[in-house]
C-alpha cells in the first residue's frame, strides 16, 4: 500500500471544514473554502495523471479493518467509472464555491462547511469499496444537503428540504436492507469486489434488484419517484442545484453500475426491458414537463429528468455503446446542467426573477453571458461539436440495438429537448430587451468567468475529442459488460 491518495482526496475538504470552524469573517471563509477545493481538484488531477487506463482493476486501493466483527473495512479504490466521477465532483466543488461567492451573504462560514462536507462525502461514495462504508457516505450526505436547501434556499425551502430528505431516506433504507441481505447471502462480507464474484440464486437477485431499484430510482430520479427533484432544485441555492444536478443524481446511476449490474447480473438482464421502458418514459415525460415550464430553474430541473433517462437507457441497453454513452452522458450532464444552473443563478442574483416571461433581449445588455448560455444550451440539445452529442449518439445507437421502442422514445425526447431549450433561449436572449432587464443587468465579471470557463472547456473538449474520456472508462466498461453477459445468461 503506497501513498493513500484517495484518503487525501476525501479528507482534504474535511480538513478545510475543520479549519473553517476556527475562522472568523466571511471573506476568510470564502477564500479558505476555495483554496481547499482547488487543492482537492489538484489532487484529483494528479490521480487522473497516475491512472492506468489499460486495466479494469481497482487502483489506488487502501484497506484497513474498521469493524472486524462484522467484516467491515475502510476500503477505497477506483476504476475507470469512478475515476471520472471523482474528477467531476472535485471540479464542480470549486465551481460551487465560486457560484456562492456573493449569492450566499449570511452564515457564509456555515455554508462553506456544509459545501465542503458534502464534497467529502460525495467523493467517498465514488471511492468506497466496502458496502457499509459506501452506505455511510451515501446516507450522511442527507445532513449537509438538507441544511443547504433548508437554510439557504428560497421561499418554500422547508417543504422542499423535508421532501428531499424523506424521499431519499425511505429509498436508502430499503437499500440498507438489501445490503444486509446481500451480506448474508454473499458469504458475510461487505467487500464490493468479493460480492460481485458471488452467484446468487435468481429469486434473491430479483428481490435485491427491486430493493436497490427503489433507492437508486429516487436518486436518479426516475418517473414516478421524481417529484422531489423540481422542488429541491427550485428552492436550493445555486451551489445546491449544481451539486444536485452535477453529482447527486449521478449516484443513482452509479449505483446501477456498481451494484445492480455486477452483483445481480441475471436480474439486471431479465428486467432490462422494464428499465428501458422506464427510461423512455422519463425521457419523454420529463421533456414534456420541461416544455410547459415558465420558471427557468424548473425548466432545467425537468430537463434533468429527461437527460437522466438517457443515462439509464444507455446503461440498461447492456451493450458497449450504450454503456459508454450512458457513462459519458452522466459526465456531460454534470458539466452542462451544472453550468445551466449556474447561469440561472447568475441571472437570478441580478434580477431576482426566474420567470422566463420577465426576460428578453439579454443579448444586447449581456453579450458574454448570452454567448456562453448559447454554448451550454446547444450542448444540452446535443448539437454536434458539443459533449452531449457524443454521449447521446452512443446512447441512441446502443438503445436502438437493444430495443426499438425505447430508442424511438429517446429520439422523440431529443426533439422535445430542442424545442424547450431553443424556446427558452429565444425568449431570454433574443428579441427586444425587457424594461427590467435593461436597467439591472451587468455582464459576467471575472470571478464568474472563472467558474464558467472550465465547464465551457469540457463541453468543447469532450465534444471535439472524446477519446481521452472514453479511454478512462473503456477497460472498466468492457470488463463490466463481459461480466454481466457471462454471468447473467445462466437462466
Amino acid at each position: 500500500m503506497g501513498f493513500p491518495l484517495l484518503s487525501f482526496i476525501i479528507f482534504t475538504p474535511v480538513a478545510g471544514a475543520a479549519v473553517l470552524m476556527f475562522l472568523r469573517g466571511d471573506d476568510a471563509a470564502r477564500w479558505t473554502a476555495l483554496s481547499f477545493t482547488v487543492l482537492d481538484l489538484a489532487l484529483c488531477i494528479a490521480m487522473l495523471v497516475g491512472f492506468d487506463t489499460t486495466t479494469h482493476a481497482m487502483q489506488f486501493t487502501e484497506t484497513r479493518p474498521w469493524v472486524p466483527a462484522l467484516g467491515i473495512n475502510y476500503a477505497l479504490g477506483i476504476d475507470g467509472i469512478s475515476a471520472l466521477f471523482v474528477f467531476l465532483t472535485a471540479l464542480l466543488g470549486s465551481i460551487c464555491v465560486l457560484a456562492s461567492w456573493v449569492a450566499i451573504d449570511r452564515k457564509v462560514k456555515e455554508f462553506m462547511i456544509c459545501l465542503l462536507s458534502m464534497q467529502a462525502l460525495m467523493l467517498g461514495v465514488f471511492c468506497a469499496l466496502d458496502l457499509f462504508l459506501f452506505y455511510v457516505f451515501w446516507e450522511a450526505m442527507l445532513i449537509p444537503m438538507y441544511l443547504i436547501i433548508g437554510v439557504w434556499g428560497g421561499e418554500g425551502r422547508v417543504y422542499a428540504a423535508i421532501k428531499f430528505f424523506l424521499y431519499t431516506l425511505a429509498g436508502s433504507l430499503l437499500f440498507l436492507i438489501g445490503v444486509i441481505v446481500l451480506y448474508f447471502y454473499g458469504g458475510r462480507t461487505f467487500d464490493i469486489l468479493a460480492l460481485t464474484e458471488q452467484d446468487l440464486p435468481f429469486r434473491i437477485q430479483s428481490w435485491l434488484f427491486f430493493a436497490f431499484l427503489i433507492a437508486f430510482a429516487v436518486k436518479v430520479p426516475m418517473v414516478p419517484v421524481h417529484t422531489w427533484l423540481p422542488d429541491a432544485h427550485v428552492q436550493a441555492p445555486t451551489a445546491g442545484s449544481i451539486i444536485l444536478a452535477g453529482v447527486l443524481l449521478k449516484m443513482g446511476a452509479y449505483g446501477f453500475l456498481r451494484f445492480s449490474l455486477p452483483m445481480l447480473p441475471e436480474a439486471s438482464m431479465y428486467y432490462s426491458t422494464l428499465m428501458l421502458a422506464l427510461s423512455g418514459l422519463a425521457i419523454v415525460y420529463g421533456g414534456l414537463l420541461a416544455l410547459a415550464q415558465d420558471d427557468l430553474k424548473k425548466l432545467v430541473a425537468y430537463s434533468s429528468i429527461s437527460h437522466m433517462g438517457f443515462v439509464t437507457l444507455g446503461i440498461f441497453a447492456l451493450n458497449l455503446r450504450g454503456l459508454e454513452g450512458g457513462i459519458l452522458q452522466m459526465f456531460n450532464h454534470g458539466v452542462t446542467t451544472g453550468a445551466l444552473f449556474l447561469f440561472v443563478g447568475l441571472i437570478y442574483e441580478r434580477t431576482h426573477t426566474r420567470s422566463i416571461a420577465d426576460y428578453g433581449g439579454l443579448m444586447k445588455v449581456a453579450p458574454v453571458y448570452t454567448t456562453f448560455l448559447a454554448l451550454f444550451t446547444l450542448s444540452s440539445m446535443a448539437l454536434p461539436g458539443t459533449n452531449s452529442f457524443v454521449g447521446e449518439l452512443l446512447v441512441l445507437s446502443g438503445g436502438f440495438a437493444a430495443n426499438l421502442v425505447a430508442g424511438s422514445a429517446a429520439v422523440l425526447g431529443a426533439l422535445l429537448g430542442a424545442a424547450y431549450l431553443l424556446g427558452m433561449y429565444g425568449k431570454v436572449a433574443l428579441g427586444p430587451a425587457s424594461v427590467g432587464a435593461r436597467l439591472t443587468i451587468r455582464d459576467v465579471n471575472a470571478r464568474e468567468m472563472a467558474a464558467i470557463l472550465p465547464l465551457a472547456v469540457f463541453v468543447l473538449w469532450v465534444g471535439l475529442y472524446p477519446k481521452p474520456f472514453l479511454n478512462i472508462i473503456d477497460a472498466s466498461v468492457k470488463h463490466l459488460l463481459t461480466h454481466v453477459h457471462s454471468r447473467g445468461s445462466g437462466q
Binding site: V136, L142, I177, I180
Partner: protein, 479 residues
C-alpha cells in the same frame, strides 16, 4: 450457608452494597448540609457511583453466582451496570443547576436516584423471579417519588399519581405470573424453570404465566399496549428525571426481558410472535403519534416508545446477535437521549421552559455550537450515519436479517423513515426559523461536561463502533 459462601455472595454484590450503603450515609449527612452547600451532595453521589463502577470492573473477570441462585455477577450484568452508571452520573451532572432553578433543595433527590440505581443493578444481576421483583420495586418506588418531586406543580403530582397506580397494577400482573410459575414448576429460579419443562410441549398454564410476566416487564419499558402512562409521566416529571427514566430504568427493564428471554423456557415457545407484534405496534404508535406533538418532552416520550419498539425488534430476532444488538442499542440510546435531554434541561432558565418546540426557533442563530450539538443528537436519534444511532439500528437489522426476519426489517426501516420526520422537523425549527426572543441557556460547567460526554459517545461510537460492538458481543455469553 457457610461463612465462605456468604463472603463470596457479598463480594459478588459488592457494587450494590457500595451504592446502598453510600445512599444511606448520604441520607443522614444530607440532613446536616446547609443551604447553598448542595455541591457536596452532587460530588458525594458521583463519588459513590464511581466507587461502585470500580468495584464492578474489579469483579468483571469471572462469573460469580451468589445468594443461592438468586443473583449473579456476570459480564451481561456488568455491561448493563455500566449503562446505569452512565445514565445516573449524567443525571447528577445535569441536575445541579436545574434543581436550583426549580427549587429542589432537598438531599433526598440524590439519595433516591442512588437507590433507584441500586434497584436497577439488582435487576441486571437477578436470576430469580423474586430478586427481579425486589430490584424492580426498589427502582420504581424511587422513580414514583422522583416523578412527583415538583410538589408545587400540579402536572408533576398528577404524573406521579398516575405512575403509582398504573405501576402497581403492572406489578400485580407480574407477581401473578410469578405465582403461576411457582405453582406449576415449584421454583422461581430462571434456570430451575427451564429444567422443569424440558422435553414436554409447553404447558398452556406456563405460557399464560410467561405472558403475564412479559406484560409486567413491557410496562416498564413503555411498549404497547402498556405505554399509556409514559407520555404523561415523562411530561410531568422534572426533566432531569425524565432523562433518567428514559435511559436507566428502561435499560434495566430490557436487561430483565433479555434474561427471561435467554431462558430456554421462552426460547422454546412461540412467544417471539407476540414479541414481534409488540415491536411493530410499539414502533408504529410511537412514530406516528410523535408526528403531531408540539411539546418537546412529549415528543421525546413518544420517540422513546418508538425506540423501545426498535430495541424489541432485537429481542424478537433472538440469538446471540439479537441480544447483543439490544445491548448496544441501549448503550447508544443512553448517550444520545441524555444528550438531547441535556439540551432541553439547559434551556430551562428563568421563565423559559424550553418545553415547547417553537421555543427553539432560530436557536442556531444565537448559539451555533449548541445547535450543532442538538443537530448531532437528533440525527443520531433518527439513525443517520455517521452517528452512533445509525450503527445501533444497523446492528439490530443485521440480527433480524440473520434470523430470517427480512419483512420485519423492512417494516422497521420504513417506520424509522416516519420517525425521522419529527427529528428533522426540530432541526428545521432550530436552523430555519427566525428567533422570537433571546436565549440564555443555563450552562454550567457540569452541564457542559454532560453534553461533552454525550456528544463524544454519540459521534465516537458512530465512527469507531468496533470496540463497543465487541464489548456487547462478549457480554452476551459472559454468564
Amino acid at each position: 450457608m457457610t461463612a465462605t459462601t456468604l463472603f463470596q455472595s457479598a463480594l459478588a454484590s459488592l457494587p450494590e452494597i457500595v451504592v446502598i450503603t453510600g445512599a444511606c450515609i448520604l441520607l443522614i449527612l444530607g440532613q446536616f448540609v446547609r443551604k447553598g452547600q448542595e455541591h457536596f451532595l452532587v460530588w458525594a453521589s458521583v463519588a459513590i457511583v464511581l466507587i461502585a463502577a470500580l468495584a464492578t470492573l474489579m469483579l468483571a473477570s469471572e462469573v460469580r453466582p451468589a445468594y443461592a441462585g438468586m443473583f449473579i455477577a456476570d459480564r451481561f450484568a456488568v455491561f448493563f451496570k455500566f449503562v446505569f452508571y452512565l445514565a445516573t452520573l449524567l443525571t447528577f451532572l445535569l441536575s445541579r443547576k436545574y434543581a436550583d432553578i426549580e427549587g429542589i433543595g432537598s438531599s433526598e433527590y440524590y439519595v433516591l436516584l442512588l437507590f433507584a440505581l441500586s434497584g436497577m443493578m439488582i435487576m441486571a444481576s437477578a436470576t430469580d423471579l423474586l430478586s427481579i421483583y425486589v430490584g424492580l420495586e426498589l427502582m420504581v418506588i424511587c422513580t414514583y417519588v422522583l416523578t412527583g418531586f415538583l410538589r408545587r406543580e400540579r402536572r408533576s403530582n398528577e404524573a406521579a399519581l398516575k405512575y403509582v397506580i398504573l405501576g402497581a397494577v403492572s406489578t400485580g400482573i407480574f407477581l401473578y405470573g410469578v405465582s403461576l410459575v411457582y405453582g406449576l414448576t415449584g421454583t422461581t429460579q430462571l434456570d430451575g424453570m427451564a429444567a422443569a419443562v424440558t422435553g414436554d410441549p409447553l404447558d398452556p398454564g406456563l405460557l399464560l404465566a410467561v405472558v403475564f410476566i412479559v406484560a409486567g416487564l413491557v410496562f416498564k419499558v413503555g411498549a404497547v399496549p402498556f405505554h399509556m402512562w409514559l407520555p404523561d409521566v415523562y411530561e410531568g416529571a422534572p426533566t432531569t428525571i425524565t432523562a433518567f427514566m428514559s435511559t436507566g430504568p428502561k435499560a434495566a427493564g430490557f436487561a430483565v426481558i433479555l434474561r427471561v428471554f435467554l431462558n430456554p423456557l421462552v426460547a422454546a415457545s412461540n412467544v417471539w410472535i407476540i414479541v414481534a407484534v409488540i415491536a411493530v405496534v410499539t414502533m408504529a404508535l410511537g412514530s406516528f403519534v410523535a408526528l403531531v406533538q408540539d411539546n418537546f418532552k412529549r415528543l421525546l416520550a413518544y420517540s422513546s416508545i418508538a425506540h423501545a419498539g426498535f430495541a424489541i425488534f432485537g429481542v424478537a430476532a433472538g440469538g446471540a446477535d439479537g441480544v447483543a444488538s439490544v445491548m448496544l442499542y441501549l448503550l447508544i440510546y443512553a448517550f444520545m437521549n441524555l444528550g438531547i435531554f441535556g439540551a432541553v434541561i439547559m434551556m430551562r432558565n428563568g421563565d423559559f421552559s424550553g418545553e415547547v418546540i417553537e421555543d427553539y426557533a432560530g436557536f442556531a442563530k444565537s448559539h451555533p455550537g449548541l445547535a450543532l450539538l442538538m443537530l448531532l443528537y437528533l440525527f443520531s436519534l433518527a439513525g443517520i450515519p455517521p452517528t452512533a444511532g445509525f450503527f445501533a439500528k444497523f446492528y439490530v437489522l443485521v440480527a433480524l436479517v440473520e434470523h430470517g426476519f427480512v419483512m420485519l426489517a423492512v417494516i422497521a426501516v420504513l417506520l424509522s423513515a416516519v420517525a425521522a420526520y419529527f427529528y428533522i422537523r426540530i432541526v428545521m425549527v432550530i436552523y430555519m426559523r427566525e428567533p422570537k426572543r433571546a436565549f440564555a441557556p443555563a450552562l454550567t460547567p457540569l452541564v457542559r461536561a454532560a453534553l461533552a460526554v454525550t456528544a463524544a459517545g454519540t459521534i465516537g461510537i458512530g465512527l469507531f463502533p468496533s470496540w463497543f460492538l465487541k464489548l456487547a458481543q462478549d457480554s452476551v455469553f459472559g454468564g
